[in-house]
């Protein structure tokens, strides 16, 4: 018992620099989980669609960017072109998939987004090929050096591209919150999230808002794709990080933007801590695949709507 409960904490305090390193790694992946979860939350709030395709949109955006650059387009212009591609994707998803399915049960729309996922996987592999690609980090002006700090005489390595990712993510979230709270379009999105029929009756266009929301999800996907691609390369294996966003959503609540961010950071750091101090010594490692889900499940047993979700009120 002592071995499982006290010793890991002793280890943490014995090597605080290593603990900080672990927490930093967790923070960076947590930010990326939070970004993907943010895409989910935006779409869920405005349309009650549980968008399973968010993960593949990350891959698709990153692949388009790298693919365009490989064809000789300058880096920043290919970012612009990728955004255009994401806009076209948003418009076509709304026209072809969502519009005919308005008003169907949630599970049908959920399945439709899985259909979109499969379609994009096949489409992406045919156009860009399935092999792992290198993200164009340097061409985009992202620094690749690292800071080496020495707290308590130890060693802490902070990669600059991770710091950039954290900074960009923070900016993106701030921008998004400003957009949602201060602009006309943003308020329309929130109105639609509160009450569909009331929003429609005051003249908010459902179609425009859906395209807009999917486009914003596309922008978030591109940012996530660049940040994660810089760490691990661009391939369809990236799709698995989308699954990590699901427990984040559970933990934070499906409707809450704050929940997505805090949940993402919590899960990112806790799963790293568990993996390093408990998973690898006692359980044979690779606990990151399930830890987040089990954690979220335990939290949900006490708070069925997640930590920050809207209170569930049931009426007959």
């Amino acid at each position: 018992m002592y071995k499982y409960t006290i010793e890991p904490f002793q280890e943490m305090f014995a090597a605080p620099d290593f603990l900080l390193q672990v927490l930093w790694e967790g923070l960076v992946s947590g930010i990326l989980y939070a970004l993907i979860a943010l895409g989910f939350v935006l779409i869920f709030r405005s349309s009650r669609i549980f968008n399973f395709a968010q993960g593949i949109m990350v891959v698709f955006a990153a692949l388009t960017l790298v693919g365009l650059h490989a064809m000789g387009v300058p880096a920043w212009i290919s970012v612009g072109l990728t955004l255009v591609v994401m806009l076209i994707l948003a418009i076509s998803i709304e026209r072809v998939v969502l519009r005919p399915l308005v008003g169907q049960p949630d599970i049908i729309l959920f399945m439709a987004t899985i259909g979109i996922t499969l379609f994009l996987i096949g489409f992406g592999e045919i156009i860009f090929g399935g092999e792992n690609k290198v993200m164009i980090t340097e061409e985009l002006g992202i620094p690749t050096d690292s800071f080496v700090l020495e707290p308590w005489g130890g060693l802490l390595i902070l990669e600059q591209k991770d710091i950039t990712a954290v900074a960009v993510a923070a900016l993106l979230v701030a921008g998004l919150l400003l957009f949602l709270n201060k602009t006309r379009m943003g308020r329309a999105i929130r109105a639609l999230g509160d009450d569909h029929q009331a929003a429609l009756s005051v003249g908010i266009s459902l179609q425009t808002i859906w395209v807009l929301v999917w486009f914003i999800a596309g922008i978030i996907a591109l940012v996530t794709g660049i940040a994660w691609g810089a760490r691990a390369g661009v391939s369809f294996a990236l799709e698995v990080i989308a699954y990590k966003a699901l427990p984040v959503l559970m933990l934070g609540g499906l409707e809450s933007i704050t929940g997505a961010i805090i949940g993402g950071l919590m899960i990112g750091m806790l799963e790293k801590l568990f993996e390093i101090y408990w998973g690898q010594p006692f359980l044979g490692g690779n606990t990151e695949t399930w830890f987040a889900f089990v954690l979220a499940l335990i939290v949900l047993l006490f708070r069925p709507q997640g930590l920050f979700g809207e209170r569930i009120i049931e009426r007959v």
């Binding site: 549980f50 072809v96 998939v97 005919p100 399915l101 169907q104 049960p105 949630d106 599970i107 049908i108 959920f110 399945m111 439709a112 899985i114 259909g115 979109i116 996922t117 499969l118 379609f119 994009l120 996987i121 096949g122 489409f123 592999e125 045919i126 399935g130 699954y243 699901l246 427990p247 959503l249 559970m250 499906l254 359980l283 044979g284 690779n286 606990t287 695949t289 399930w290 889900f293 089990v294 979220a296 499940l297 949900l300 047993l301 069925p304 709507q305 997640g306 569930i312 049931e314 009426r315 007959v316």
Partner: protein, 358 residues
């Protein structure tokens, strides 16, 4: 003309409630059963057995299990593949610990283990609903697959980490392992699936089935009219996981012959879910229609380009397959969100009054 119900009078409630109130349906079923039991085994090639007949039956059974949970009791689950895995690993352990055990008994028993684990992961459903529950079942999916990989006892400390189906004899015939012939395996699968289907049809028509449907339609209202939600949801989890577990055991023992932990990954869960949804949630026959579509489609798509003489590399064909399956799922959801079963029902309604629609 061929499907006229005129003249088939019901004189008792019992006759009205019969499984096949319309005579043509019973005849149609007889024809299908005759094909499944006699015509297909006599004419099918090894290739057809391995790529179409056996997988269609096994996937249909798995989807039937999921459909009980999702379609009848309304609890969305994304962890089907993991429960199939529990069935497969339980069957493997049973066979290797008790080598004298009848393999069909082992397959039937292995479902019980998966039912137990299904109930354990179903307990959160008493508090968690909708998409939250769906994500919660993903906990089962990822945790169990991880366990299959790390718990060496499950695969008897093999160096490869995979389970290999041994040769098993029953009444002088090899029924599983590399020595078994496809036709024997087909008959075993067909027998199990037929029995399970009859059980399912009757379960869903009885008290339990009605309790599930009430829970699905509105659980608070169901509770108010005196349905014990805990009992209703947990029996749904237990029976669904039992069927899914049996299908998992069949999947490995009667079809694949060997299994690695990642065979039971989330893609398999989704494939089963597609079958249940495209077939029609809340139907039994739909599972077969969905399985035929999802299993048959890639086979057809693989044959078409070479038959037409279009030169495409096999990798491209595979990617095209994924793309077309994705597009078709969306297409079917748009034309008939209630699935192929509903489509068949509409056709039947049209046929009864044909050729005089008014």
């Amino acid at each position: 003309m061929f499907y006229r119900t005129a003249g088939q009078f019901k004189t008792s409630y019992k006759a009205d409630q019969a499984l096949f109130p319309v005579r043509q349906d019973a005849i149609l079923l007889m024809v299908i059963l005759a094909f499944a039991w006699v015509v297909f085994p006599l004419t099918a090639s090894e290739f057809t057995f391995q790529t179409l007949l056996i997988p269609v039956l096994i996937y249909a059974l798995a989807a039937m299990g999921l459909n009980i949970l999702t379609g009848f009791a309304g609890q969305l689950s994304l962890g089907t593949a993991a429960f199939m895995g529990v069935g497969a690993y339980a069957c493997y352990k049973l066979i290797t610990i008790f080598p004298w055990m009848n393999p069909i008994v082992a397959i039937m028993l292995s479902g019980i283990f998966s039912a137990g684990i299904g109930v354990a992961f179903g307990i959160p459903s008493l508090r968690i609903k909708g998409f939250y529950l769906a994500i919660a079942t993903l906990a089962a999916q990822f945790f169990l697959v991880w366990l299959f990989e790390k718990w060496a006892w499950l695969y008897n400390y093999n160096a490869s980490g995979a389970i290999q189906v041994p040769n098993i004899e029953m009444a002088g015939v090899w029924i599983s392992g590399p020595q078994a012939s496809s036709i024997t395996q087909y008959y075993v699968v067909l027998a199990v699936v037929t029995i399970m289907t009859i059980l399912c049809i009757n379960l869903t028509r009885g008290t339990l089935g009605r309790t599930w449907k009430a829970t699905r339609d509105m659980d608070i209202a169901a509770e108010l009219i005196g349905i014990n939600l805990m009992k209703s949801k947990l029996t749904a989890f237990a029976i669904s996981s039992y069927i899914v577990g049996v299908s998992g055991a069949l999947f490995v023992f009667m079809w694949r012959g060997a299994a690695e932990p990642n065979l039971f990954d989330i893609q398999l869960s989704f494939r089963v879910l597609f079958i249940a949804i495209i077939g029609g949630l809340g139907s039994i026959m739909g599972n077969y229609l969905g399985a035929i579509l999802i299993v048959g489609l890639p086979v057809v798509l693989n044959i078409v380009p070479s038959a037409l003489g279009i030169p495409i590399s096999s990798a491209t064909v595979e990617h095209l397959n994924i793309m077309i399956v994705g597009a078709l799922i969306i297409f079917f959801l748009i034309i008939e969100p209630h699935g192929l079963n509903q489509l068949w029902r509409l056709i039947r309604e049209k046929l009864t009054i044909w050729p005089f629609p008014h």
